[in-house]
Amino acid sequence: METLLQVNDLTMNFGGLRAIDHVSLEVRSGEIVALIGPNGAGKTTFFNCITGLYRPSAGEIRVFPPGQKEIRIDGFKPNRVTAIGMARTFQNIRLFSAMTVIENVMIGRHCRTSTNILGAILRGPRTRRQELETIDKSYALLEKVGLTRYANELARNLPYGAQRRLEIARALATDPFLLLLDEPAAGMNPRETKELDDLIVQIRDRDGLAILLIEHDMKLVMNISDRIVVMEYGKRIAEGTPDAIRNDPKVIEAYLGDETDA
């Protein structure tokens, strides 16, 4: 298995607060890696750093896109990171709420298409071809997440669970090799969570994507992850297989210390 993402000693400070403290992490192809930890541990901040939304204070982030040379991406703009092949969802859903469901997914195709202003106005054969491809791919993705029938509804009118799945479809539309999911099961009922479980496994097995997942639902995490990394107060405190993590005394203590969730 080859490495796709390698993070070394990542550190992120907000003024005096150190939200991430020398965290290292690696994701290899075909893996589902879970990143867990109590609220405020720095998980989302970690995502923000590797997707370019925040510029890390220190550390290195390298990616190894399949079939390409390695690239050091710390300091890259978010759109470049996405173009390289890492896509994410957000903990507090950030859909384009006044756009339709299908348009949301089509936005994901932006970085894989190339029509410019002139092309869009003239709408030549190449533009049309790209546009049709975009529509088809988007429909295929909606089918995958089970939202086809909502395609032309406004995104904000979707039920909560469906919005989370739409975020996943939108991220997949950017053709990533690594998918980053930030608490995808938050607010879902058990049935929806089960469907999500199947969807994530399917994305890995059929589409061959690697997945890095932040999640509080322990059942889901234990079920699908190949490896789990635990963070607390910005530090990485443990890493291992689900079984090893379940029995790790440090992890148990971290979670007993914070009874608010998970």
Partner: protein
Amino acid sequence: MEYFLQLFSSGLTRGSIYALIALGYTMVYGIIQLINFAHGEIYMIGAFVALIVSGVLTIYGFSGASILVFAAVVAVIYAAAYGYTLERIAYRPLRGAPRLSPLISAIGMSIFLQNYVLLAQTPDFLPFPALIPEFEFIEPLAHIIGSAELVILTVSTISMIALTALIKYSRIGKAMRATQQDMHMARLVGIDVDRVISVTFVIGSVLAAIGGVLVGSYIGQINFYIGFMAGIKAFTAAVLGGIGNIPGAVLGGLVLGLSEAFAAGYISSAYEDVFAFGVLVLILILRPAGLLGRAVKQKV
């Protein structure tokens, strides 16, 4: 040297007026993250009410500094009432709306109020009765600082000290600070956030009206449009000091007033207004957090 001191005192005077208005912008922004575009209009309304009241009284034969005090009190009451109503009508129904909505509503309100005064009163400049008396004790310094300037500096200093005390020590001041920190939490601990917002608008309006009355009697004439430029300059002052930051607004006002006075005095006054805009654009581009503000990263 004398010219320098003259410019200095006129800059300080201007600056303290900017500071008075800027405080309203900064307080409202600190609490609901809205540029209250119509704030300049509240200042204009304050000045106008003072002009109407003192004008009527003068015509009916009253005179002296007591008119000024009375007119100022009425102006302050009216400005507060307008500020309160403005928030109720144009902003409160838009809590939680997309960010552009309250801003457009604010611009609409500003245009509305200007034209309301234009239509109900007059499009022309009206002379403002000279109400500030000439003090004798200032005679030896008259070539540097006039008595109007002295009054403006004194009144605005007192207002700012009063504001600081209010925010620091009073109950409502504490509630304001809590709301500014975290509106959601403030609501949870039982603070009536809507009331805090109303009070913020009222306080801001009172300060603006004081500024309006002072400027009216200093410059000597006003019209319906004076709020526009003053509003922009005061906003510049607020941004310069770091928007949301109360000492910042005062500092920003003084810095802007002084630099304007010196630029106009030593360079040219044709581009005086461009100067304020230039400062605004530069500060937003180079240091959007302002002189005293701290840069915050937007949470994702």
